[in-house]
Every structure is written in structure tokens, then in C-alpha cells.
Symmetry: C2
Subunit: 397 residues, 2 copies
């Protein structure tokens, strides 16, 4: 059994704070500060340019990629870190569309995170070949898979509701229809067991600042199924995806395997912080994590529904149908969430009316979940949310 | 007059090391470690998700952009940080080509850094509209500008030779021919005075880990001339370039001005390190910097030519025609450079035969330049380079 009291000790959490937003930004792993400072001082400071070889900076996107890969069922050498999730979505989709030149439909759902849809639209407009971004409701995806679809592009866990797609089943369906499947694991990696190889996914992308605790703006990752890795043309053909970057040839020649999905110079400082954060996963059994996550979210739902009858559950009731987050809906959700945050319970808000709460067994216990529900109750009962300062929208919600 | 002894005191340089590679990776600014650690501990650690508003993380790409902008003659609000240089080149070129839909030529030179050419090739292949990447010799660029050219895409300072293009003149020529001009400032920003507004450049991109000392893999920047900023369609249309990212609309609507060139979540930790590094530029007069840079590079050339007759100058002899770096050519340049590095003089090597040396008055003095030339002499005279270990190619040169 995974000992979550041990993993919890690895994180810094401010005293008295109930943090139910690890689905948006994971907390600081205590060792990340020192490890990052040490990298800066001893590697950058002392080795300077030599760090690219001597400290292994150039190999880091692949090495950290393998660490992430182990959490998502990806074989060694099939995941690489770099850029942002948006860029990685673009790469995956651009490559997928070229593999299915006769087909014109990109199928997604309205629970996909907007940036995935925006990047797809931008790509489609650039290609100017008559592609269509078809957006259906999550429950309509399966029936919408047909032989016009070039790529099925979904976020496994809906960012608003936590609704979980059946990756294996939908990928099979896509393949049976001759389409490729691209999975965004932003709310999956580190949140629940993922088996990319077992599901036979074609591409996957994800970010590392949510459940993987890499810090604000930590680099993204991309997975390409090994059977496809050398067949894809990288649309973003940067020098570090070249077969021989330091030959400085004038012509691009795609690198081997997943290396061709590298683009520019790797973000070494950010990768040092992320690498430190990933230490927390050593020895964690993903089945234990999932069981603990469900225990926490079920308890939260029970407590909130009992205490706060004005709130409507915005997530699937069956925990097997959810990722590791739960939403409750209320027309004044924004103000309620601001009041809750002011009372040291942190979740977040997603327009138009969803209050989101994330459950992260690595550092969150049942007592805190109950405390969060209690404070939510008090804010509703005493209408503490109904003050001007809580209605004012901040830039970031 | 700028006091370079003061700026020098801001950097950590290992004892006894002569660092002539600030054109590849700037050294560690002493305060960067603490400032980054403080950001991680006090902002990420204590504020958690609230840091996006409370610590100003979301505004940082623009704020740091303005700091960089002041060094390159860009008006407030016209520069934004994020991604890598390769990605920024792609954005600039994709937008430029859409502004000139009837034209099919991207004109560049063989002194452009390969990733710029690779990204252009990748884009052209994706667009599949018959664009041509025309690569000429640097001295042939001016004559090759004609009314077939959609975009002139150049790196102002040649990464191999230090040869400096005349940005103002070539931009004028491009505009007269109806073309747009994209300038890569990788070897210019912080290396010499740049006046983007004065040159009427259309787009500019650059990296911040060379002369701006932001650390390995520090984020890139992009400039779009304010007169164009709201006319360009962002090809990489990520959510943070959206007019209202936190409305989570399904449709993309480009943000105002330079904001539309943002893509994904900003790299907050890396931006903290870069922001600390940029403090070194407060009070630096770029004309003083240029004069000091020329003094250093001229002295180096004199010393090396006097001491090392086997080496051939690979850079323009006229300092006004150079950026802030000098190359010397030798068939065994790779091994010689490795031996030099082993003797604590750090430059780098660019295939096929160029040893590069960068001159960075912020932290480099004339004594070190002379010491570097002396050690180079010794390595050549005593053939210290001719050992097996110095011939072995490392992954990164």
C-alpha cells in the first residue's frame, strides 16, 4: 500500500489552508526549491555552456519524459518534454492530419479545454484544405466517429465536470473507423491510472503543473505511439528535433523517434523543478492513488450535498465516470468561490457557473475535505459570498 | 559612462575561467538564484494558484517583454515573452505570409541559424501553397529582394561569423519591394544597439539566454510592429492569446495587440530568473556597451593574429560590420576548442570549422581577452589539441 503520509510530507502547504486546486496548480514540493537553486548555482553557475553535455541538460527532456511516461503507461523513449500543452496539441494534430490526407474532420467535444479547440482551429485555417472541427457533446462523441474523421481529439477528463472518457473504447472505435486518436491528459496524468500503450493511443499530450506539481508554467509533454513515431512529419520542425542538430545543416532531417517532437532549446531551469517534483511519485501505486482519490471525492460530495442543498453536482455521480475532480454548480459560483478562497479553502471557478474542487491524495487528507465542505456550508448559510469584493472578476479565475 | 565594473560584480564567474561564450549562454547573475528561490517559496509555495493574480504571473510575459523591448528599440507593449525562438519564428513567418497571400518567396540567407530555416521549411510544407524558401549568401540578400518576396527573414548577426546585416537598409528595401521583414535578434539583443522602431521592422524574435543571461532555455520573445499587431492572425492560436482566456469560449477570438502572440501558460519560474537577469541592464548605455564590445573584439583579433598565424579570421575585419562575436577558422577547430575549454578558456565551435568567441562587456574585461589569446597560442604552439579526447565529438558543440 502506498503511504500517503510520506508523500504528503514532501509538499509545502501553508498552515490552515485547504487546497482543493491541485487540478489547476500543484503545490510546491519542498525539495524543488533547493534542487532548482543547486542546478542554477552548480550547473549553470559553474559549468556554464558545458552544462549541456556535462550536466545532461540536452538529454533531460527525454529523461524526464521517461519519468512522466511511467505514470501514463508509455514505454521508455516515447515521451518528451518541452513547450506548452497548446504547442504539443498543435504538433500532434498537424502530424495526425497528414497521416490521413483524404479525411477532413477533426472530432472533439465541448468539454475539451478551449486551447485544444483554438489550436485546432488555427491549424485548420492555416492548412486551408477544407478541414472541419466538429464539436459535439461528450456523450455524443462515440456515435459521431465515422469514416470522415481524420483525428479524434479529446481531453480524457473534462476540465469543467471531471467526466471521464473511456480512452480504450473510443480509441478502438476511432481505429475501427480508420481515424487516429489524440488524447489530452492534462487532467489525467498523476490523477488516475492511464495506460496509453494498453489503449493503443496514437498521440497524447499533457501538462505537468497540475497533478504532477511541476510549478506554474512547467513544460508540457507529448507521446507518439512508437509504431508511428518515425512516420510522422513534425510540423514544428525546430533544430532540436533534427537528426543532427549540431551539424547545422541547411536542410531539416527529422530526428529518430520521439526526438523529432522536440522543437527549441529545452527549458532547463523549469525541468529541474519538475524533475524534483516527480520524485514524489517514486513508490506510488496508481491503483492506490485512484482508490484514495475516489474516497476523497465521494466524501466531499456526501458532505457538500448534505450541507449545501443550493448547490447542484456538476460531475458524474458514479466515481468510475470521473477523473479526480468534482464540480458544483451555482449561479453565484464565482462569488462563492472567491469567498471560499478568502476563507482559506482554495478551489477555482470555470465559467459560466462551475466551482471546481480537485482531489490529490499525494498531499490531501479526508479531514481537509470535510473542513472544506464545512466552510462552504458556512459561506452559503451566512451568505458571506454576497459582498461586492467577491463579485469583482480577477484576470485569472 | 556605464560603469562595467559594477555590472561585472552582478555575475558569478568561476575563478580562473575566461568565458568567451556569452553569445551562447550568459553566466549566472548572482541574484537570480535567490530571486527564483524566493518566487518559488513565497509565491508558488504560499500563494499557490492565487499567484496568477496576486503575484502578477499572468502579466509577467508582457512586463518582462517591456524590459527586453527597451534594449531593442521596441515601444512599450509591443514585445511579449514565451515559448522558444523556433516557435516565435514560426508565428512571425506564418502571420507574415498571410499578409502577403499573392507572394510565394521567403528570402533568407545561409548565415541564418538553421532552426529559422527548418521552421520555415516545415511551415511551407504544411501550407502546401507553393511557397519557396530561397536561401542566398548573406552578401547577396540585398540584390535578391524583389516583388516575389513575401517575407525577408534574417538573423541580424550571423551565428557563425558575427557578420552584421544592415537592418534599416534591408527593411527599407523589403518594404519598397512590398515585402515584410522579420528579424531574428538572437545574437543582437544585449549585444549591440538595436532600433526596431527606427528600422521600421515588421516582426522580430529573439532568445534571452545569450546576451540577456536568462539561463539555459530561457523563454524567447516576439515583437510585432504596433501598426501590424491587430492585423495579424496568430497561427498558433492558444488560449492565452485569446481576447478573454477565462471566458472559456469555444471559438477563438484574437487578443489585443501583441497579446495575440501569447500561446500557452507562461513559464513563471524561468521568467523569474530572466527578470532577475535583466536587472543588470538598468543604467547600461547601449552605445557604451557597443564601444566596449568593439574594444574587446578588436584587441582579441590583434592578439590572436599576432600569436596564432595558423588561424584565419572568419569574421568581418571592420568592427562596424560585426555583432559582438568573432570567429577564427581552422580545420582542427573542434579539437582546438576542446583543448582550449580544458584549459579554462570557453568559446564554442560551429561546424564545419569555426571557433567562436563572444565579447560581453557586462562581465568581461580586456585582461581576460588577452589571457584567452595567450592560452590559444600555447595550445597551438604545443599542439595540445592533438589528443584523442579532444577529437571526440560531444552531443552539444
Amino acid at each position: 500500500m502506498t503511504d500517503f503520509s510520506k508523500t504528503r510530507a514532501l509538499f509545502h502547504l501553508p498552515d490552515g489552508l485547504v487546497y482543493l486546486d491541485g487540478n489547476s496548480l500543484g503545490p510546491l514540493p519542498k525539495k524543488a526549491v533547493d534542487k532548482t537553486a543547486t542546478m542554477m548555482r552548480e550547473e549553470w553557475g559553474e559549468m556554464l555552456i558545458r552544462g549541456w553535455n556535462a550536466a545532461g541538460w540536452m538529454a533531460q527532456p527525454r529523461q524526464v519524459g521517461d519519468r512522466v511516461g511511467r505514470l501514463i503507461g508509455a514505454p521508455e523513449g516515447s515521451v518528451v518534454l518541452g513547450d506548452t500543452l497548446s504547442i504539443k496539441v498543435y504538433q500532434a494534430l498537424a502530424s495526425a492530419l497528414e497521416l490521413r490526407p483524404q479525411r477532413k474532420v477533426v472530432l472533439s467535444d465541448n468539454g475539451n479545454f478551449p486551447t485544444d479547440l483554438y489550436m485546432a482551429s488555427g491549424l485548420i485555417q492555416s492548412l486551408d484544405k477544407g478541414h472541419e472541427l466538429k464539436i459535439v457533446a461528450p456523450e455524443e462523441v462515440e456515435d459521431a466517429i465515422d469514416d470522415t474523421v481524420a483525428a479524434l481529439m479529446l481531453t480524457e477528463v473534462d476540465y469543467r465536470t471531471g467526466r471521464l472518457h473511456d480512452m480504450k473504447r473510443l480509441t478502438e472505435k476511432a481505429h475501427a473507423a480508420g481515424a487516429l486518436a489524440i488524447w489530452d491528459l492534462a487532467h489525467s496524468a498523476g490523477a488516475l491510472p492511464v495506460d496509453l500503450a494498453g489503449a493503443d493511443a496514437d498521440f497524447a499530450v499533457g501538462c505537468t503543473y497540475k497533478y504532477l506539481n511541476g510549478g506554474p508554467g512547467a513544460p508540457a509533454f507529448i507521446y507518439v505511439a512508437p509504431r508511428l513515431a518515425e512516420k510522422v512529419r513534425p510540423a514544428l520542425s525546430g533544430w532540436l528535433g533534427h537528426d543532427a542538430p549540431f551539424a547545422f545543416d541547411l536542410d531539416y532531417r527529422a530526428g529518430r523517434g520521439i526526438d523529432r517532437m522536440r522543437v527549441g532549446t529545452p527549458p532547463v531551469i523549469a525541468l529541474a523543478a519538475l524533475d524534483a517534483a516527480l520524485d514524489a511519485w517514486e513508490g506510488v501505486d496508481m491503483a492506490d492513488l485512484r482508490a484514495a482519490s475516489i474516497r476523497l471525492s465521494e466524501r466531499f460530495i456526501v458532505e457538500v450535498e448534505r450541507r449545501c442543498p443550493d448547490l447542484t453536482l456538476g460531475s458524474p455521480r458514479d466515481p468510475e465516470q470521473r477523473g479526480s475532480q468534482v464540480s458544483f454548480l451555482h449561479d453565484n459560483g464565482y462569488a462563492i468561490m472567491q469567498a471560499l478562497i478568502a476563507h482559506d479553502v482554495i478551489g477555482d471557478f470555470r465559467a459560466p457557473n462551475a466551482m471546481r474542487f480537485g482531489f490529490t491524495p499525494l498531499y490531501l487528507g479526508e479531514d481537509e475535505v470535510v473542513a472544506g465542505a464545512e466552510r462552504l456550508e458556512r459561506i452559503l448559510v451566512e451568505r458571506l459570498w454576497d459582498r461586492p469584493e467577491f463579485h469583482e472578476r480577477a484576470a485569472v479565475t
